[in-house]
Symmetry: D2
Subunit: 203 residues, 4 copies
């Protein structure tokens, strides 16, 4: 049987969700998955990025990260989404990428993707829950199989106990406040594990 | 390998969600599942029921239907919930039943249940979507595997195209307006199928 | 012009939401409101309460607090709800109380109530956002005017920055972890202030 | 006292949400408001629009409609949003426009805007509720005052009974299936009326 193919699809301005994506990759690889870490296309003009040193540096740092495509989604057995909150809903960059999947959707290629999501916010309760739930609403339309972490590992409690998906608070200095690495890895392992079940069962 | 064990847990005053539950049972049995159709405990006093002829008749008609217990939830590999909307959120009877599962939850017995949900309302957009989504929020806390129907079958379009779960509008006369039987059956078959994958993969 | 009449309707097992309700009362009175702090009816049997010393003590401590009635809701110009999370949705006790307002609703008596909500959870991201949003979904059905705090005061940032409503994390010892008193008071003042506008404008 | 200033901010590919916006304008003007109907910027490349005759025709037809700006939001006392669903959440075009309001938000200029929302979908339950609720989640972050229609007028029942906001189903031929004009007008009048109360009370 093939390894599970996992796409970790993220949007990041300052590097937080990129880091979450990398930790997810780490966990998923330990669980035997083939992993692609992929950034969604940027909507902001280059001039906006240039004005913000942190943003600019992050864009520079991740210029080798491939941009997510519809082919990646079709390729994937499982997808983990990671997006900062924007007013309690996924960022417009993530939404735009998802909105363009109508063709895949119409051909039934989004069905049974095993999915999970992560988020970040500047305030502890600044949309960390609601943002992930907005992604799961979308995933229902896909006919995906949604695998939230719940409280399936003690690492989740240490990371703030978000049962919808791992989330993290970003301080004024741009650094993560909680230590969520173990929770992210667990979430990725869990997602890959369920995808293995689906793959094996569905043969 | 054992057959998948499916609990169809419903709340019904006038019979709509009971009927949805029976159709789910029908589909699930065709898919080879062992099925228990179970009603959640009533919170209303008998005196309220007595005053409402439709309600009273339904309670009478379903007096042989077993009341859902925590043992049923522990027994089940998969659970389909069916609840009328009450202001866009599941009915208090359903919520109360779920709120009492803390012991199961603490022992990890809610993890990896394969779940799906259905709803009804008196208006076409009177909470049919939101009610199901409120159940999925709860299911994240359980560490369940959420299997919405999406648009995985043409029957769904005929039933109003609710990707979160089958829903139906109840007319002034208490009868269902849309013909949702095929959509319910499909949702049940899909839920059982994914539960089979999880069961087989997870051995 | 009459003072704004505010009902603070809460459910509490261990005292957290009762305390939030009292702080809301404090803020609302400073803003000139007439306030009723009201508990929703308990659904649990006395035997369950007896087995839990903290719960029992809280029930004892608050036995003089009036139980919320439909008359209180009709009386009120504004309502603040406070409920612990139960799996990311309001507690069944709160839901049951609200589900019984169908008569008020049918007579148009829930329209234009100025409402806001608060919550608590044992994990920082254990439903603090989602629980409040579940209440706002319900409030849409009422035709209420929903007044979330947003980020309208610096106290909100200190309390975890929940824009949906004040929320608090309850530690293993049953004590609140964040200091949310100022945020609760601000939320109450804001709710009363908007209710004053509605009252004055609507004359 | 000045008239209430209402911005009706919409995204439309085929004309449905544009029509909803125009009906909202009609109602709002009857209620004495000064109204701006505004489209959010398009994210799709011109080449995509060119390939779709309906889309192209709509873009052509509405080329004189002003594009919404941050100044419009600052100007407005009240805002009605109208967006097609995209997988149960507002369209990325609408989200992108809203995501760019961070500067307004930081200066407190989104506080106390009186807001309401409308949506459309191709299936009766294809996100008509969830899309509007996603907008209200965002509005909480703004510190807005949310005014859903609830069931405050009989026209709402005729339009499908969506208490979150008026929504409409678009048939295969691109035409609206339900007659929602009266419901939209009512929603606009209600929004303007509450905005008048806030304006008058807040002087």
């Amino acid at each position: 049987m093939d390894n599970v193919k996992l796409a970790v699809v993220y949007y990041s301005m300052g590097g937080t969700n990129y880091q979450l994506a990398r930790w997810a990759e780490e966990g998923a690889k330990e669980a035997g998955a083939e992993v692609r870490v992929l950034k969604v296309p940027e909507l902001a003009p280059q001039s906006s990025i240039e004005k913000n040193p942190v943003w600019k540096a992050h864009v520079e740092e991740t210029k080798e990260v491939p941009v997510a495509t519809l082919n990646d989604l079709e390729w994937a057995d499982a997808i983990i989404f990671s997006t900062p909150t924007r007013y309690g809903v996924m960022s417009s960059q993530m939404k735009q990428f998802i909105d363009l999947t109508g063709g895949l959707w119409a051909r039934g290629k989004t069905v049974n993707k095993v999915v999970s999501a992560m988020s970040s916010a500047q305030n502890p309760h600044g949309g960390q829950e609601a943002t992930i739930l907005s992604l799961y609403t979308v995933m229902c339309h896909w006919g995906a199989i949604i695998v939230p972490p719940g409280y399936t590992d003690s690492a989740i409690f240490g990371a703030g106990g978000n049962p919808y998906g791992t989330s993290v608070t970003v301080g004024q200095d741009g650094k993560m406040i909680e230590d969520v690495r173990s929770a992210v890895k667990h979430q990725a392992i869990r997602t890959v594990t369920v995808a293995q079940w689906v793959q094996k069962g569905n043969q």
